[in-house]
């Protein structure tokens, strides 16, 4: 019955319409695959909320409020007035997690920019040129990998800490230690990325399209950055995403050891440091910053996982 009501002409017209939609671009395909990855979508949404919390929250609570000390209010448990309670010098923990979040997220992002830049540069040069350039760069990379990262972080933080003046950025004053931490995390974490990029370049440079690019007079620099690099973006994006989580954790480590960002500038890491003496007596001191670190790292890892699946060009799933 249904078939009778649809004339063959209509069917043809329907089919033609279907064929006429332009084919999906690579990014559209990736987005489709990403959307279907539940954990990744969860990660992306949580992460977006965390950014909203850290950067939107500063519109509600001022920074001077976050750094305001009142010893009469020290170590107050969560209440209507101080939702997350107060710390050992009476500062509001809610406000401090907001401003600390800004620093932690910014450190994560900027450290990864440095890490990605160095990783791509070193990996690309080593993989593309090969020979002695490859040997030299990879020996340096291995040497860096052999030093325990946490040790390197501590030594460099100790060495450079306090030597850099304060800076102003997006309307806030940051202690110089923030810059030091960003740079240190950046230059101690590029090695894995460099190895990934090198491996990508080693295989991609043998492709015929590289030869074809040479044959049209494209220079080596253009081939490296405009022809081969776009082909290896997927693993780089994934690695960089996971790098954000690692950078946030690294900042938490060294701040927890008291070598990171110096108070009164709050970070989630140095808030944990301030909580060490009150682990049992005042759990809200470490619970909220700890939870935020956990959520951030977890959601970034989910996001990275989803990106890995979505950006894999060999994936046939639509």
């Amino acid at each position: 019955m249904i078939m009778e009501s649809t004339s063959p002409n209509q069917l043809v017209a329907l089919n033609m319409e279907g064929l006429d939609t332009p084919p999906l671009t690579l990014s559209q395909l990736a987005w489709r695959r990403f959307r279907r990855h539940r954990m990744a979508m969860f990660g992306a949404i949580v992460l977006a909320l965390l950014f909203l919390y850290s950067f939107g929250g500063s519109l509600v609570l001022s920074e001077s409020y976050a750094n305001h000390t009142d010893t009469s209010l020290r170590i107050m448990s969560p209440s209507a007035e101080h939702l997350f309670g107060t710390d050992s010098v009476g500062r509001d923990i809610l406000a401090r997690t907001i401003y600390g979040g800004q620093i932690s997220l910014l450190i994560g992002l900027t450290a990864v920019v440095i890490e990605t830049f160095m990783g791509i540069l070193i990996g690309a040069l080593a993989g593309y040129y090969g020979g002695w350039i490859d040997s030299l760069l990879m020996r340096i990379t291995e040497a860096m990998l052999n030093i325990p990262e946490i040790f390197l972080l501590i030594v460099m933080a100790k060495f450079f800490g306090g030597k850099i003046p304060e800076i102003e950025f997006i309307g806030r004053t940051f202690s110089g230690s923030v810059i030091v931490i960003v740079v240190i995390i950046g230059i101690t974490s590029w090695m894995y990325l460099a190895r990934i990029v090198r491996a990508q370049f080693l295989s991609l440079k043998e492709n015929e399209f590289v030869l074809a690019a040479h044959a049209t007079g494209t220079s080596n620099v253009q081939i490296i950055f405009l022809h081969i690099l776009p082909n290896s973006m997927a693993p780089i994006v994934v690695s960089a995403t996971l790098g954000v989580a690692n950078a946030i954790l690294a900042e938490a480590y060294i701040s927890f050891l008291g070598l990171g960002v110096q108070p009164p500038t709050a970070t989630w890491g140095n808030m944990l440091d301030g909580a060490t003496n009150y682990l049992e007596s005042a759990p809200w001191l470490w619970f909220f910053p700890g939870l935020l670190i956990l959520l951030t790292v977890l959601s970034i890892n989910f996001l990275g996982d989803g990106l890995r699946d979505a950006l894999d060009p060999r994936s046939r799933a639509i």
């Binding site: 492709n207 049209t216 007079g217 494209t218 022809h227």
Partner: protein, 332 residues
């Protein structure tokens, strides 16, 4: 008439070898030839006989190491281009000499749009702005017979069929109107009907742009209709060079004869079997003594095994490397 035109490319004693863990591979062993402006030369030979390597050596596209061009010179418009630094070579590649590769499925970058790849040579070599390069790219796509070119500029290579991709490769190679096009088996990876279209397209472009072509192939049938001269290569040597009709009418090297006999022809009896060449190409790891074709040759004489003949003129514009006169079967 052809010979009155100026010489565009002169290759003399070009030798390329590769140093590999198994030993040194002698891929190109002293080839020499001339190409005049607007002339079409086909280089014929079976796989691994050094056709592609010799052409890539011309443009210094050989990876060094393991490759090494250890002798010879290549004069393009009278200037030795093998001595030029890399930056000057980049000016020549794509601008003066275009190249089309065998497999269009792999020679386009999968993550860049057709437009990006097509406008790149225009912007590097001719210094065009984006808008102008885009307009020129649309013209080029139209020229190579791709319909609706504006829309296709935004497309990625995977949205194109093999024939369309090869058309794009040709458009890229011709973007800057080069004086010489090197076509490295441009039809091998395509269906027969598409092959014919591509041959026709390149012939049309040649007549339009008045460029010279070096057409590498292992298919003598494809070149018969379009080449002026044919160079036959074997084991990194040129074994015969002749005008195209002369080569088909009067093949004078045993290898050329064997190749022609292995070629299916419409004017031959259907029930006659194609002849194959006995044996296999020589191992290029050892520098051969004597004629490299001697072990497979029907006409072989004692001298062939000890001494490699040099390229010798046997008639006007026809030269071979052989000790034997194939008509009589006796030493020349």
């Amino acid at each position: 008439m052809m010979t009155t035109k100026p010489v565009l490319l002169e290759v003399s004693d070009l030798r390329t070898r590769f140093h590999t863990p198994e030993g040194t591979i002698f891929a190109v062993n002293g080839i020499s030839f001339r190409l005049h402006e607007g002339e079409t030369v086909a280089i014929v030979g079976e796989s691994g006989c050094g056709k592609s390597v010799s052409m890539m050596s011309l443009l210094k596209l050989i990876p060094v190491p393991p490759g090494e061009i250890y002798s010879g010179n290549v004069k393009y418009r009278g200037k030795d281009i093998l001595q030029k630094p890399e930056e000057e070579m980049e000016q020549i590649r794509g601008r003066e000499i275009g190249m089309v590769f065998q497999d269009p499925m792999t020679s386009l970058n999968p993550v860049l749009t057709i437009g990006r790849q097509l406008t790149e040579p225009l912007r590097t070599h001719l210094g065009m702005e984006r808008d102008m390069a885009n307009r020129r790219a649309i013209e080029l796509l139209q020229m190579v017979g791709i319909s609706d070119p504006e829309r296709h500029l935004q497309d990625y290579p995977h949205q194109f069929s093999g024939g369309m991709r090869q058309r794009v490769m040709i458009a890229m190679a011709l973007a800057c109107a080069p004086s010489l096009l090197i076509a490295d088996e441009p039809t091998t990876a395509l269906d027969v009907t598409i092959q014919a279209q591509i041959v026709e397209l390149i012939t049309k472009m040649r007549d339009m742009l008045k460029m010279a072509i070096i057409w590498i192939t292992h298919d003598l049938g494809v070149v018969a209709g379009m080449a002026d001269r044919v160079i036959v290569m074997y084991a990194g040597y040129i074994v015969e060079e002749a005008a195209v009709d002369d080569l088909y009418d009067n093949p004078s090297h045993p290898y050329t004869i064997a190749l022609l006999e292995a070629l299916p022809r419409v004017d031959r009896r259907r029930d006659s079997r194609l002849k194959s060449i006995a044996g296999s190409p020589p191992n290029l790891l050892v520098e051969p003594h004597g004629c490299p074709f001697a072990p497979r040759c029907e006409f072989v004489i004692e001298r062939c095994r000890v001494e490699n003949p040099a390229l010798e003129n046997i008639a006007q514009g026809h030269s071979i490397t052989c000790w034997v006169d194939v008509k009589t079967g006796k030493p020349r």
